[in-house]
Amino acid sequence: MQIEKEPKILAILCKWCSYAGADLAGTSRFAYPANVRIVQVPCSGRVDPIMIFKAFVEGYDGVMVSGCHPGDCHYTTGNYHARRRIAVARRLLEFVGVHPDRMHFTWISAAEGKKFAEVCSRFTDKLKNLSGTEKTLARKELAT
């Protein structure tokens, strides 16, 4: 099926900033690739690295996490915690063999609709470049 060749991206976005930014991209008609599947969380601090691990094991080509800019978190300090957790999670995933280009972590505010669209496009392109390489960690079948 042709769709399988397109990279599948999981984007975990915080509700107050990044998800709103994605909404803005939509209402402003900034096009971004359909490869991105969005999951909304209340705050980037809610992002548990197990979600990122699961995404790669279940076959996602890339994972993106985005939250409010440091200092602007709706819950004041959530994104500071997220920054540390995700930094460590990234290192672990790189260590076991996930290509660094498959992970992208960023801060996108509610006003940055254009940035959201650009980030998604660039990330998708990066993953398309990697489509020749083997998708590590991804499970192949039900019994494995």
Partner: protein
């Protein structure tokens, strides 16, 4: 050793402790195992040498629940894991008497254990009484981690997938780790079921990744997880990779400073955003 025995007898006598966690040599077989010495028991079988491999801190919480106050014999690495237990308020300092012993390295299968190459401290960072010599700390070597870091992503995954596929999910690594003490482990959670119970590569990968991640910044590198694994999976490699990461990112070596809050609990506003970047960015 005699010095320590005398001190323990003294502590029993003046009622300060009701039991001691130490190492006992079985007179019949010569094997050395973790053991609880109670108040009126003879301490003749208590030993401390390179055969004292087990991390006794793992048993501490059960024992402090049963006895009022417990003494514990601590190697350097075991002491590091005790620091984590105290900082996380799992045990109170006033429930234990820490008997630090200067460790000269332990033997596994007849030769010195790998973990002793990276020994952060031969004497427990927490010790009410110290016996033996404190040796200088070695700077972390992480040489095995660096070997993996030289491989390409595909090579790394091949290396790890072979091991993860072997995992039986016996959870010995979890049970023996003092820092793994969640009442309901994430591996046992049903809703959502993050980790499937069957021992297949995908579920095992999830298990090993989350186990290593939950220990990030808390693992004392006591090496017990690797020792007990029936499939000889290099558990320490994952833990050390994160120890290196935490050291590079936050300049912390877990458990070496009493009362130091683990790095992933700390709220820091000053971390640079660059820590989120991958190698190619």
């Amino acid at each position: 050793m005699n010095e320590m025995r005398n001190k323990i007898e003294e502590l029993f006598k003046n009622g300060e402790i009701d039991a001691v966690l130490g190492y006992r040599e079985d007179p019949a077989t010569g094997e050395v195992k973790a053991a609880v010495f109670k108040k009126d028991e003879a301490l003749d079988d208590m030993v401390f040498d390179g055969r004292c491999v087990q991390n006794l801190v793992n048993y501490l919480p059960t024992l402090v629940a049963r006895y009022r106050k417990v003494g514990i014999v601590l190697k350097g690495c075991d002491g590091r894991s005790l620091v984590t237990q105290l900082v996380e308020h799992r045990i109170n300092k006033n429930q234990i008497v820490a008997l630090g012993v200067g460790c000269e390295g332990v033997k596994l299968d007849g030769k010195e254990a790998d973990k002793c190459d990276d020994c952060a401290t031969s004497m427990s960072p927490i010790a009410d009484y110290e016996f033996g010599e404190k040796k200088h700390k070695k700077e972390p070597a992480f040489s095995k981690v660096e070997e993996i870091e030289k491989m390409s992503p595909a090579e790394r995954w091949k290396f790890f997938a072979d091991y993860f596929a072997r995992c039986e999910r016996c959870y010995a690594c979890r049970q023996i780790c003092p820092s793994c003490y969640c009442e309901i482990c994430v591996a046992d959670q049903q809703e959502p079921k993050w980790i499937e119970p069957s021992a297949k590569l995908s579920a095992n990968t999830m298990w090993h990744l989350i186990r290593a991640y939950h220990l990030a910044g808390r693992c004392a590198d006591c090496g017990e997880c690797e020792r007990v694994c029936p499939q000889e999976i290099p558990m320490r490699l994952l833990n050390n990779a994160l120890e290196k990461a935490v050291h590079e990112l936050f300049d912390v070596r877990p458990g070496t400073v009493p009362d130091e809050i683990p790095p992933l609990v700390v709220l820091s506003k000053e971390d640079p955003d660059t820590i989120l970047e991958g190698k190619n960015e």
